[in-house]
């Protein structure tokens, strides 16, 4: 780890300075995480009056039951869909915004604000739009011959949460793509144009490779977002249903722990999720910084 050459010689002061953050980190991050690991080896009744040590059986049941594996599969589908949808839409919009001469700033303003909308609010909005009874979209869809009912149809429920989650994420991806596109040197593009490359070839051969670090970075961020930050969207729209069709891992931790009161299993799931985040973070720091270079 780098440091400044000049340093202050004080002994106690740095502890005072870093103290608050360390205390908060220890009390609200490290200690609870340790407890989650501890609880994952135990079985408790809901009120916490009886507890037994059960070893790894919470984990064993997780992988035996099939339910968790199904949820993991669903999570993968969801994360990939949200990532693909939001990044493609964002890239298209960013390419367009980067191309317009006038009004780019206004377009940007009009596109970025959903970032500030709370996920649960985004969920309520889309739930309202897709409400099978009074929603406006099912009405439009039925004109096209599509019978929309995400209360019954698991695939439709999945589409609903993918759209709601992607809608919120487009603004973020858009800003990063736009920033990346703006830093592509104009001279390179001009040189290619003189060589006779049309706009689509220029995009494929020059622009896309040049922004690949951003693309990769967004890939990781989006997967992370879809896996962990979409809890509120699901809670506000489908609550994991129908028939568990939208019960993704992070929601299952909450549903099994807070609603199902199965603390042991919920904690075991938390621990597995933590391992997934660690892996993702590792990938992010390994590859974003080093591998994807132009």
């Amino acid at each position: 780890m780098q440091t400044k050459r000049t340093i202050f010689p004080n002994k106690g002061l740095p502890w005072l300075l870093i103290g608050p953050q360390m205390i908060v980190t220890a009390v609200f991050f490290l200690w609870p995480s340790a407890q989650a690991i501890w609880t994952s080896f135990r079985r408790e009744d809901p009120f916490g009056l009886n507890t037994t040590f059960v070893g790894l059986s919470n984990y064993a049941r997780l992988f035996e039951s099939g339910e968790w594996l199904e949820a993991a599969g669903r999570t993968a589908v969801f994360a990939v869909s949200v990532t693909a949808l939001s990044m493609l839409a964002a890239l298209t919009l960013a390419l367009a915004a980067n191309r317009v001469l006038r009004g780019s700033r206004i377009y940007t303003t009009l596109l970025v604000w959903p970032y500030a909308v709370a996920p649960v609010v985004a969920g309520v909005l889309w739930w309202f739009l897709f409400n099978p009874t009074i929603g406006i979209l099912p009405l439009a869809l039925s004109a096209l011959g599509i019978d929309w009912n995400h209360r019954i149809n698991g695939d439709q429920a999945m589409i609903l949460i993918v759209i709601a989650a992607a809608w919120k994420q487009v603004s973020y991806d858009f800003l990063f793509f736009l920033a990346a596109l703006q830093s592509v040197p104009k001279s390179l593009i001009e040189a290619a144009a003189i060589d006779g490359a049309g706009p689509f070839r220029r995009m494929r051969d020059i622009v896309l490779p040049l922004i690949s670090p951003t693309t990769f970075f967004l890939l990781i961020v989006n997967i992370n977002y879809a896996m962990f930050d979409t809890f509120a969207i699901i809670d506000a729209t489908t609550s994991g249903g129908p028939a568990g069709a939208t019960n993704i891992l992070v929601y299952k931790v909450y549903a099994d722990g807070f609603l199902g009161l199965n603390l042991g299993s919920s904690s075991a799931q938390s621990v597995v999720l933590m391992l997934i985040v660690v892996a993702l973070t590792f990938v992010q720091f390994r590859y974003v910084e080093r591998k994807v270079q132009y």
Binding site: D45, F47, G48, N131, I152, G154, A243, L259, L261
Partner: protein, 439 residues
């Protein structure tokens, strides 16, 4: 900057300690909408009658949310004195011996009279321990009934005064309604698990689980995958595909009431306590009330339906003064006038004989057609081992399983038999977990 921040934090923390002149008693409940407003009036009514205690009602969301919030709070030692727990939480609460202050004991400790003979038998039976002691105060007990749209019936060429009695009639009426274009769907239902499975089983005297539906001990297993249940779920699927039945969503079925209010569905099965909402929302049409339908080829005389709704549980670990307040409040709640007012406004059952008698003597039932449908349905015949109620631990989770299997059925992923078999198997795992955790 840091000091200011800490100062601000401390100042705001100090503000949270309320200055008390009287003992406040927290009452967590799950009554939203019209019911919530009425509940708050009742609390206010009690607060006006005396000045030592103040009941503070706090709305905690749906029934499952309220229960889990109370449990989480208990673990955190921040529990309210009173929490409203719905009937399926009964098994969970009964098993939590260290957490619960039984009502019969509380009333005895505080020197209040509390005679269970004052209460309707099917209600008391549901909430008593094996020795016959009442563990929680019955507050809002309901039972599912059928609501129907008289205007749509007339439009479809049906007699608006005749409700379908059997499921065969529900089917034929629905067909007529849909075919004639009087409404887009025949019927919908709230609470699939409670109405279309638990009550269905009770009505047809079919066991829901072994050991008298769990009343005779915790080592029980579910048996709700019998013939009548499979037949009924198969029918529901068939009717859903034919457009006669529309699903209203999991748990309470939040989409069901709007379907009835907007006249999309002509018949609506839900708690008798939906009455307040129905009357409030059915402005453009007349509503009829009727008992739940049954299969006349399965049972000639349907049994009584079972109750739902909730009772008030008292949690341990609050200061002694609060329990005094709780006892005084429960005394107030049991008064015939308070009970009758609540019952007549909401459609919940009158829980005491006195409240029912008061309704009779003031001519309420004569003036309000359909208001006694629920009472008649729940008190008809002699309750059997299969119709006196359910007593299973973790029943909340089991209901989630049932909802999810029902959804799998509707999505054509499973047949009725497969869905119910799978629900029984998953439910039994949950029961074993409960048994193991509460040993």
């Amino acid at each position: 900057m840091k000091q200011q921040l800490i100062g601000a934090l401390l100042a705001s923390a100090a503000m949270t300690a309320p200055a008390l002149a009287q003992t406040e008693v927290q009452w967590w409940h799950a009554m939203g909408g019209e019911l919530g407003t009425k509940l708050e009036q009742i609390a206010a009514g009690f607060n006006e009658t005396q000045k030592d205690f103040k009941i503070v009602p706090v709305y905690k969301g749906s029934y499952p949310e309220t229960l889990t919030a109370a449990i989480a709070a208990f673990r955190a030692k921040e529990q309210p004195a009173i929490v409203q727990v719905f009937e399926v939480g009964t098994g969970t609460m009964m098993a939590a011996k260290g957490a619960v202050y039984p009502v019969y004991k509380l009333m005895a400790d505080q020197g209040k009279t509390f005679d269970k003979a004052d209460y309707l038998a099917p209600v008391v039976g549901y909430y008593s321990d094996p020795e016959g002691n009442i563990l929680s105060l019955p507050f809002n007990s309901s039972t599912p009934i059928m609501y129907y749209n008289k205007d749509v019936f007339a439009k479809a060429g049906l007699d608006p005064e005749v409700a379908p009695k059997t499921w065969a009639e529900v089917e034929s009426f629905s067909k007529k309604i849909v075919d004639s274009g009087a409404a887009r769907c025949g019927f919908t239902s709230g609470w699939i698990s409670w109405v279309q499975l638990e009550n269905l089983s009770a009505l047809h005297d079919a066991p829901y689980g072994t050991k008298e539906n769990g009343f005779a001990g915790p080592d029980t297993a579910f048996t709700f995958n019998g013939d009548v249940q499979v037949k009924h779920w198969g029918n529901l699927k068939k009717w859903a595909d034919a457009g006669l039945f529309q699903y209203g969503g999991p748990v309470g079925g939040n989409d069901a009431p709007p379907k009835f209010y907007t006249q999309e569905c002509a018949i609506y099965m839900n708690s008798s306590a939906s009455r307040a909402g129905v009357i409030n929302n059915a402005k453009d049409f007349k509503v009829g009330f009727a008992p739940l339908p049954y299969y006349d080829d399965v049972i000639a005389e349907p049994k009584n339906s079972i109750i739902g709704g909730a009772t008030l549980w008292v949690l341990n670990g609050r200061p002694a003064a609060e329990y005094k307040g709780v006892a005084a409040f429960f005394d107030y709640l049991s008064k015939a006038e308070v009970q009758a007012d609540w019952h007549q406004f909401t459609g919940y059952l009158p829980i005491t004989h006195a409240a029912y008698d008061l309704g009779v003597s003031t001519g309420y039932y004569a003036k309000t057609p359909g208001a006694d449908v629920a009472i008649k349905q729940i008190t008809r015949g002699t309750p059997s081992a299969h119709s006196k109620g359910l007593r299973f631990g973790n029943l909340t989770q089991v209901r989630d399983v049932i909802d999810s299997e029902f959804e799998a059925l509707l999505a054509s992923k499973k047949t009725a038999k497969e869905a119910l078999d799978s629900a029984v198997a998953r439910g039994n795992t949950i029961l074993r977990d409960f048994e193991a955790a509460n040993k």
